[in-house]
């Protein structure tokens, strides 16, 4: 990129780029590959539930107001301070009146309240339990698989705040690798159209890595920055802000940042008709109400916030605010603060840019492509490093570790999905999803230790992965998931699409490792050119 850099500077940059990648690259790969999958977290949730429910908005649930009134009366313990109302993935109504309190088990601020899931047609209670949401994973059992994958992506399944700090550092590493790579490579533009040169030489590996890295550089930087921002904001930024500006009172900070403005007034006043609010908000926002939150339900200072997807052509989701007592429309509310600001808008932009969810399946599909490209960059970079140091047995072993993690992680994710479905049938899906992942990972490590030869290892993993993918739709349907046609179905489009994706992936991997087809992952060492 820069011809003015001296040989020594380039060497230093190469060392920073390479060693940071070698030390943290595999962890970064774990974060990126799970992030690539959880772009479709909502769809995975629908799929894992075997969903036939088409309705995922409050606008489609009949008689929300009456159901909420019944659920909230009588209600003590101050839970009416904040009432979350949203549909479950299978189209029923979830009502969660709660307060923010310190969980004595974790010492962290959590949501304490009464979780109620109400049947959309009959109004009967499908679940009615009280406690901290973090202590009751079975409240969200349907989403155990997507929650687990999100947790691995966000904090590597580590306790807070350490997991978030690690993923924040990995985000910084991504940006650092992008910048050092750009500075090291002097001919980014000139090499932008040069494919991997033939001959499986060292220069071929370099071409492969440089080409993928150059094309994906803008979004690698963007995703690294937004990911790092989110991790550090939750783990360090917000607690620090609470300490500095709110005397350590996190709840007050959350209220100030997120809640809609209204003068405090404790007088009891009947709540406005939520059905009318839902209908009006849907009309104003140009889309259905995904969820709503009522602050101080049944009081004169009650405020209702409705949330909607971004409108066509826009990036940001829409939030509407209503007076909870009179039902009067109070205006649109930015996510942070009471009025729109440049800072608030920039922070709001971080979410759609990182999640890629602003234009539904279209943007999500492209974001999966970006994640796939990033995974390719990480693995090809590690392979290049190993190939350059092929004479050393230590690096050859590291090469085997790269193949093991490269294939083993997707295999462990598929294993966690299998465990989720089997456990849903038998019970305690939340625990078994994590256990399934660990079992898959342990099996992968054992295979890696047993074979220790990249070519055979790659082929074995591909076959295992293919079998796992091909079996997943069968296991899903066999354990009570909706069938494509006939009894128990028909499944929704998302369910069929994900089933098809697994079948295609499985068939593709099986075919790719068949006789006469290209062999994957050859990490045999080669002297440097």
């Amino acid at each position: 990129m820069l011809d003015s850099l001296s040989q020594t500077q380039v060497k230093r940059l190469t060392a920073v780029h390479g060693w940071s990648g070698v030390i943290l690259g595999l962890l970064l790969y774990a974060v990126v590959i799970t992030g690539t999958v959880v772009v479709f977290a909502d769809e995975i949730e629908t799929w894992s539930l075997g969903g036939t429910g088409e309705e995922h908005s409050l606008s489609g649930i009949p008689g929300v107001d009456a159901k909420v009134r019944d659920a909230l009366f009588p209600m003590g313990k101050g839970y009416l301070k904040e009432v979350q109302i949203r549909p479950t993935i299978d189209g029923h109504l979830r009502v969660f009146p709660h307060v923010h309190a310190v969980n004595p088990k974790t010492g962290e601020l959590g949501d304490l309240g009464r979780m109620m899931i109400i049947d959309r047609e009959t109004g009967a209670y499908r679940l009615k339990e009280e406690g901290f949401s973090s202590d009751n994973p079975h409240w969200f059992e349907g989403s155990a698989l997507s929650e687990f994958l999100v947790d691995v992506h966000v904090q590597l399944y580590m306790p807070r705040p350490w997991g978030l700090i690690v993923t924040g550092i990995l985000g910084l590493l991504t940006m650092a690798a992008g910048v050092t790579g750009l500075l090291m490579h002097r001919h980014v533009i000139r090499d932008l159209f040069v494919a991997e040169r033939p001959g499986a030489r060292l220069v071929s590996s370099r071409d492969r890595h440089v080409l993928a890295a150059s094309w994906s550089l803008p979004f690698t930087f963007l995703l690294g920055f937004t990911g790092s921002f989110l991790s550090f904001a939750i783990s360090i930024g917000l607690p620090m802000m609470a300490m500095v500006a709110f005397g350590g009172d996190r709840e007050k900070m959350i209220e100030t940042l997120l809640a809609a403005p209204k003068q405090e007034d404790h007088r009891p006043v009947p709540s406005t008709d939520l059905n009318a609010v839902i209908a009006d908000a849907a009309k104003r926002a140009g889309g259905p109400v995904n969820a709503m939150t009522v602050m101080n339900y049944g009081r004169a200072d009650a405020v209702i916030q409705t949330s909607h997807d971004a409108q066509d052509g826009e990036m940001m989701p829409v939030n509407m605010v209503y007076d909870g007592a009179s039902g009067a429309f109070m205006g649109e509310k930015p996510l942070i603060g009471k009025q729109a600001s440049v800072g608030g808008t920039l922070v709001e932009l971080v979410f759609p840019l990182h999640f890629g969810s602003f234009a539904g399946v279209l943007s999500k599909s492209v974001w999966v492509g970006l994640g796939g490209a990033m995974c390719f960059v990480i693995l090809s970079g590690l392979r290049l490093w190993v190939k350059r140091r092929g004479e050393d047995a230590l690096w050859r072993n590291f090469g085997v570790a790269v193949v093991t993690v490269g294939y083993g992680l997707p295999f462990a994710m598929v294993a966690s999905a299998h465990a989720f479905f089997l456990a849903r049938y038998a019970g305690d899906a939340a625990w078994w999803t994590g256990a399934g992942f660990l079992i898959g990972a342990a099996l992968g490590i054992l295979i890696g230790l047993a074979l220790r030869e990249s070519k055979r290892l790659g082929r074995t993993f591909c076959r295992l992965l293919a079998a796992g993918c091909l079996l997943l739709p069968v296991i899903r349907m066999a354990t009570g998931g909706a069938a494509w046609i006939g009894s128990g179905g028909p499944a929704t489009g998302a369910v069929i699409a994900i089933d098809m994706a697994f079948l295609l992936m499985g068939a593709g991997l099986w075919y790719a490792t068949g006789r006469g087809n290209a062999q994957p992952a050859d990490l045999r060492p080669e002297p440097a050119e």
Binding site: R190, D191, L192, F193, V194, A195, E196, R197, P198, R208, L211, A212, W215, S216, P218, F219, A310, D312, G313, E314, M315, L353, G356, F358, A359, L362, S363, V366, W367, G369, L370, G372, A373
Partner: protein
Amino acid sequence: MTLGLTLTAVLVSAGAVAYLMATDPKRRRAFDRPEPVRGRSPWAASLILFLPGIVLGYLGNWSAFTIWFAAITVIGWGMVAVSPRQWTRAGNMLLRVNRAAAERVSMSWARLRAYTRAVSALSKRFEAAEDRVAELERRVAGLEQALAAATSGDSGAINQGTEHTEAALVPREAAE
């Protein structure tokens, strides 16, 4: 709206990437392709590459702009990562598939035409069969009449019946 705009923008930019890729001197050198390409205009192609983004920005459709930008980095990489030899092989395979498909279509068309002709001939024969059945029924009725007259012993009637039968036996076309 966003979907249509995004797809159009991505198609236009992908076309520009394809042109830049196919005419890139370093790529051609690396894969032993003759160079340079006459009349190559990389600046015009680069302008076309970025033009959809400018248009989307001007329209204020930031959602489509972001998807276009992200998609072109992924699709561009996907296109360039395929070597010229693999592109040629894929093109040849596509041509072979295309030719085989065209042959099949042409064969199927010929067969369809043969079937249509056969069905049409059969339908004409069915139509003629109705007339023939009516003719035969008329003849049978005449013969039955003649037979009845013969049984009653009335020679006149027999003669008349015979005449009637003979008349009935004359083909309709001849009688007309």
